[in-house]
Symmetry: C2
Subunit: 498 residues, 2 copies
């Protein structure tokens, strides 16, 4: 087999892996959006079978022989193909370290656990979810030990979502954020309060659906490749650049909730929709990491979406759909959309206090994986950290430890990437401004300029580069959280007239 034949084989193998991932992705999406409760039984069976078959395909003799051959000829490969081989090498080494039965049992556990979490959250009953969380933590620790016995287990978890991220980096990053956010938040809280009462003006859900369509149009999300679904907890799932699904949840008396959710998920979708064509159905298609993904979603949600210019752009549509809002000016709406106030729910948190929510979860995860805390004591730890970091009391587990879906789906190590993504976004903004007037582009409904810039710097590369490498190329230098703290300082000074 010559190198070209080996690449052809690789293409075929990756297409098969894509197919399994696509099928399992659709099963999960269907679960979240449509499926009846009883479907968990057949879906559990199917997920078990497909993950086993997919595992065997990726780690079987044929795939491993192909990998060895490609590695031997690494210097004859194109940059892209070398990267594919590198990614495969890393992934298959990880997979082979985990026995197939454990891999399958884990995927069945996750299917079950997501359903139990949903029910537990509805009932605000942590005890119901606790044994599943316990098993997930144990499995994550065990997998970390099997795959990277040389690595700290929580560092391994972080690395799963943002290659190269470690606790050391997180500690330093969060320390910088705390040093800026805590005093800034104090100043904000001593400023005259901003009126937000009109944000609960009833906005019929059918009209919010129309608002979503308008937002997708403004963001240049192509209708033929991106649809919006309704779920309890919004998320985005990209099956390929031809088919990305965003989701939202409408609350009649909180229209900003869905509006910013759509913009956030739309940011994720744009990233997935713009991988270079040549990466289609290969391991290079789609976003490289959760940190980079969140940099795009949070960039759109906060930096673009909560800017005075964007609020001004969407304002005529808002008052058309909900005429009562016309009693308030663009300026009032913009300030109200940027109120900073410690609160219970991460996904509803403002830009300034948001990182504090992440820090709570970071401390929780660290303790869970280190084994410093018993699962029975986790709600107490959660509530204590909310008191310490945000100064608020958590009334129940529904509004506390059960609020997020991540852990129930095995996502331990994911949260820090949200904060990192926000910081990436602020540094991207600074760079973007060197090339064109971003405020003017938003004001004049030319978000296509923002899209084109991000496509050129980030999106088109898919998974070709490691996250830090990709971001450094885009920044033209190293990552520096100062851009983020400066941005927050500037923004909140303006919003509150400090």
């Amino acid at each position: 087999m010559n190198v070209q034949e080996a690449i052809n084989k690789l293409n075929e193998l990756e297409l098969q892996e894509f197919a399994y991932g696509h099928a399992m992705g659709i099963l999960s999406y269907d679960d979240e959006t449509t499926a009846p409760r009883g479907s968990r039984i057949p879906r559990g069976k199917t997920m078990g079978v497909l993950s086993e078959l997919s595992y065997k395909l990726s780690t079987g003799d044929e795939a491993m022989r192909l990998l060895d051959q490609l590695k031997e000829h690494a210097d004859e490969l194109s940059e892209e193909d070398r990267r594919r081989v590198e990614l495969r090498d890393k992934r298959t080494r990880e997979m082979k370290a985990i026995p197939v039965e454990e891999y399958v049992a884990y995927s069945e556990l996750i299917n079950e656990s997501s359903n139990v979490w949903r029910e537990a959250k509805n009932r605000s009953d942590y005890k119901m979810f606790e044994p599943y969380l316990g098993k997930i933590i144990e499995t994550q620790k065990r997998f970390a030990g099997l795959v990277r016995p040389d690595m700290d287990p929580y560092d391994y978890c972080l690395d799963q979502y943002e290659e190269g991220l470690t606790q050391e980096k997180c500690e330093e990053f969060f320390k910088t954020l705390r040093e800026h956010i805590v005093p800034l938040l104090e100043r904000v809280r001593s400023a005259p309060p901003i009126d937000t009462s009109f944000l609960s003006t009833p906005f019929p859900i059918s009209d919010q659906r129309e608002l979503s369509r308008k937002l997708m149009e403004i963001m240049n999300l192509p209708k033929d490749n991106c649809v919006i679904g309704e779920v309890e907890h919004p998320f985005t799932t990209g099956f390929s650049k031809y088919d990305v699904r965003i989701t939202t949840h409408y609350y009649e008396d909180a229209f900003l909730s869905s509006m910013y959710s759509v913009i956030h998920e739309g940011g994720h979708a744009l990233y997935d929709l713009h991988s270079d064509d040549r990466f289609c159905f290969t391991s290079l298609e789609g976003g490289i990491s959760m940190g980079v993904h969140e940099s795009q979603s949070r960039f759109y949600e906060n930096i673009i979406g909560r800017s005075r210019e964007f609020v001004g752009l969407i304002y005529p549509e808002l008052i058309r759909l909900c005429p009562k809002l016309a009693a308030h000016s663009v300026d009032q709406l913009w300030r109200a959309a940027n109120v900073a106030e410690p609160s219970l729910i991460r996904t509803e948190a403002d830009e300034l206090t948001y990182p504090l929510h992440i820090m709570v979860r970071y401390e929780m995860e660290k303790a869970m994986i280190k084994g410093d805390v018993n699962t029975a004591d986790l709600p107490g730890m959660w509530n204590g950290l909310y008191k310490e970091y945000l100064g608020i009391d958590v009334p129940d587990d529904k509004n506390g430890i059960l609020q997020d879906s991540h852990w129930s789906g095995g996502g331990i190590g994911y949260f820090p990437s949200y904060a990192l993504g926000s910081a990436y976004g602020a540094q991207l903004l600074a760079k973007m401004r060197e090339d064109f007037d971003v405020r003017e582009a938003v004001r004049s409904n030319q978000l296509i300029k923002v899209n084109n810039w991000l496509e050129d710097k980030i999106w088109k590369y898919g998974s070709l580069y490691k996250p830090a490498e990709l971001m450094e190329k885009a920044f033209g230098g190293p990552f520096d959280p100062k851009y983020y703290t400066d941005y927050l300082e500037r923004k909140y000074t303006e919003v509150y007239g400090l």
Copy 2:
């Protein structure tokens, strides 16, 4: 390997086949209900890969050795396991006769063709769909020749949907129907017309959704295992007895359309939801044939749903949701729901003229498979047959040859099972009446009695028996279309007071 080990292997193999079928089923369901247009590209790839892998699994050396071993030990197997072996033997023989590349190419053609048909129907542009239909016909003929060179190709098509059904049986069956329906329809048409104008009373779609929920409740469709989706062309898809999806389409000015669609699809769903537990995830789960399936759906839609008692049962709910309907009595509504009148669209046709729509399709399919007609001439043939059988002019292809999705999905030979199913249903009714007062059960909202009877005679058996065998057991004797023609005669005499 002893027999028990072989059965364990068979269970494992069938579970894997179930998983592939489930995944492909969800992909199709998602396509029909949710997916953006562009999704056809990745879905085509994934369907191609999964159908190839599934084909190789079912026909590979290991599966064939297992089958041989089980056949050798057939006399040591239970009735169920013997039937599974028989079904597998038939199915794998069919699959092995078709080269894998052709099998995969065909599944990709179907994915593409369904999308093209949808578009062609919207535009009423038969030319757009014609090349796909041509390829589907050619492929069906080729597969028939490969699998059963001893059999007439259209008989092979019929047998795919109703094992044992042949053109000879169809001709005789349709002849009997024509002999009764044509004169009965003439008598009906000479009777005083029934007022149907109020059937277009505007009925808001949100209220129709509530009506659907009520209908599902009356039919005892379990919410945890059955949800309703909204699509252009209603269908039912059962993934397992734990998860069955029905669908409908709401028209604000034709509430009966969705109402009877929900009852029809609900009948399919009940059948799939009540296979015996021990058949779960094996080839015996779910309905045996399309004829038997249609016997259940059309039994609920017409025999139950269009009975005077059912209309009386749903009437209070109808006038609660749409108060204007209260100007008309139960009797008026019942008559209006049973008006017999030649019309263009099969799915909207009344019970009496419905078989004539089927006969048109039967003649078309026979000619297509025999090669008696060029694809370019099919719309002309369709329109000619509508004139001949129903006496009406077809204005365009959207309301003509493009109205049904079946052919675009490769379903040639399916249609006759609708008419056969109606006749099965009438004979089941006669038998059911020997055991309890069916009218009284419906009148008193005790459809559970009907369900229990059908579960006991039909549903619980899944695919354990061949269709004709199953029906004869339920009938306690041979199939006789006289029950159907007697039923029609009785019903229309009553509706029109002949």
